[in-house]
Amino acid sequence: MPFVQTLFNGIITGVIMTLPALAVTLLFGVLKFPNFAVGAMMTVAAYLAFALNAQLGWPLLPASIAAAVAMGFVCIGLDHVTFKPLRERGGITLMVASLGLGLILENIARFAYGNSARSFVIELARPFRVAEVRMNQEQMVTVAVATTAMLLMYVLLSRLPMGRAMRAVADNPSLAQVRGIESPRVIRWTWFIAGLLLAGGGVLIGMDRALEPPMGSNYLISVFAAAILGGLGSPLGAFVGALVIGVVSELSTLVIPPNYRIGVPLCAIAVILIFRPQGLFGQPYIRR
């Protein structure tokens, strides 16, 4: 039953993408520009986890948690040296800077580990079958990790003061400032959380496929498509968008050559922009 199997694989791909898509949408909400370095950030985080896991012999879970926390701080540091001095220069300059930063990060990973594909050290387990669908343990872990992360993000954004502050800054930065919200602190927290999410995404991609320098940027278009489909800046939208894009991309391989899978998110972006530019859950964009 190839259809059900492909559908299942698509859901897994979508679940993996929920984490970076949420990071992209949070970053866009608070900083107001699409960040092209997120792909390379996932790569770097995955290699950090790889260093702890394969080279120092830690089990993957603590290695990933340590890498995620480290990535959170790395992201704060990178924002401080690259984006902070450019904050007032407008979206295009920031986008170009993020592209440059992405190239640097991806090539640091390439310099350290070369172009060859690597994989985490995890105990191999036999795949099992549920009603003709082949699943493996990594996919179950993926679903569990992503679900937990989404629940935590929901609690953060809807219940905790910092989450409310982030949403306030995303909604209207100057009003937030007038109401006494310190935007530098909000930006730092946003980057920290984005770092955690991107590290999660990087490790999950590494488990699903393999670790190689372009592993993160290969997902860039799909992740942007997911965030745009959901409405840039909308966390719930990013979640739904990632699942839809993941499933549709996988299902498309039944009719088009798998090499052109990237065409699906691209066409999705075009269709969304023509028919519903604000995405599924976004606010209609009003220029001021």
Binding site: F28, F33, P34, F36, T82, P85, L86, R89, G91, I92, T93, M95, V96, A97, L99, G100, L101, L103, I104, N107, I108, R110, F111, G114, N115, L220, I221, F224, I228, L232, P257, N259, Y260, I262, G263, P265, L266, I269, A270, L273, I274, P277, Y285, R287
Partner: protein, 301 residues
């Protein structure tokens, strides 16, 4: 050595033309093009395929490449900008560029996939003796470079050039004054695309083969670096910027002799890191670049 310098000159020329194209789209028109590599590859492949499959004359093939890339760029700009803002435009150009590169890699019947197309004819390649050909190629490249600079200077000083800068500075004001912003942007992106196509076909003439490995991210990195270094909007600046970046890039080939124990992948990585760091430093500390954009100035008496 002379031969190396001559060939280097040719590389600088077509890199400068590519930088000029980006400078027109982004520096003058305010439209970022993150898919530059893909459009560049499209130009190179279009010209090569026209010559190899249909036996077109190299000059005709170059015109074909210019028209092809301009048409695709116009289409991308039209579909994307009909409704939205530059954020989305950047994402779409990145995606389209990636798609074009994938097509070069996978459409075996047309592009021979990873093997690439070899034996690309050169303009007047059969007429001029091989030992003098490199000088001719340098002369031709210089002429095309000067022609491109002249063409862009004419545009920048024309009424259309003023519209281009107006759209970059504030599209709402331009629209309020009755200018058709979408149509202006489509034309900006298409003109830039045509110049990318020219650079792509020259790439083919120089290497005499095209394969997907020639079109990597470093093309985007160095073109943006060249434009920022030269000063956004300044055509001559983009040329000097491209020359400086290419010398830096080619010079870094010799790093291998200086740093022992670095393999070629690592060397390639170092070169991109250098370019990336340079790009960020320029953006932060010297965003205006080293040359100024043309401005209409009144004579002071």
């Amino acid at each position: 050595m002379i031969s190396f310098l001559v060939l280097m000159g040719v590389v600088v020329c077509f890199s400068a033309i590519l930088a000029l194209a980006l400078n027109f789209q982004w520096g003058l028109g305010g439209m970022v093009n993150f898919g530059l590599t893909g459009f560049y590859a499209l130009g190179a492949y279009a010209s090569a395929i026209l010559m190899l499959k249909t036996g077109a004359h190299p000059f005709v093939a170059s015109l074909g490449a210019i028209a092809t890339v301009a048409a695709i760029c116009a289409l991308v700009a039209f579909v994307t900008l009909r409704v939205t803002e530059e954020d989305y435009f950047a994402i779409v150009t990145l995606g389209v560029g990636e798609m074009l590169r994938l097509m070069a890699l996978n459409e075996d019947w047309l592009t021979k996939g990873a093997l690439g197309l070899t034996g690309i004819p050169r303009p007047l390649g059969t007429v001029i003796a091989p030992e003098y050909y490199q000088y001719f190629l340098l002369g031709l490249s210089l002429a095309l470079l000067l022609g491109t600079v002249w063409f862009l200077n004419v545009i920048a000083r024309s009424p259309f050039g003023r519209l281009v800068r107006a759209v970059r500075e504030d599209d709402v004001v331009a629209a309020t004054l009755g200018k058709n912003v979408l149509w202006a942007r489509v034309r900006i992106f298409a003109i830039g695309g045509g110049i990318i196509g020219l650079a792509g076909s020259m790439h083919g003439f120089y290497y005499q083969y095209v394969d997907p490995t020639q079109f990597t991210n470093i093309v985007v990195a160095y073109a943006f670096m060249a434009v920022i270094a030269g000063g956004r909007g300044a055509h001559q600046g983009a040329v000097w910027g491209a020359a400086a970046v290419m010398v830096l890039l080619e010079g870094s080939r010799f790093l291998k002799d200086v740093i022992p124990g670095v393999d070629s992948d690592q060397l390639a990585a170092i070169r991109i890191i250098i370019i990336g760091v340079g790009l960020l430093l320029l953006l932060i500390y010297r965003p205006q670049g080293f040359m100024r954009e043309y401005r209409l100035q009144a004579e002071l008496k």
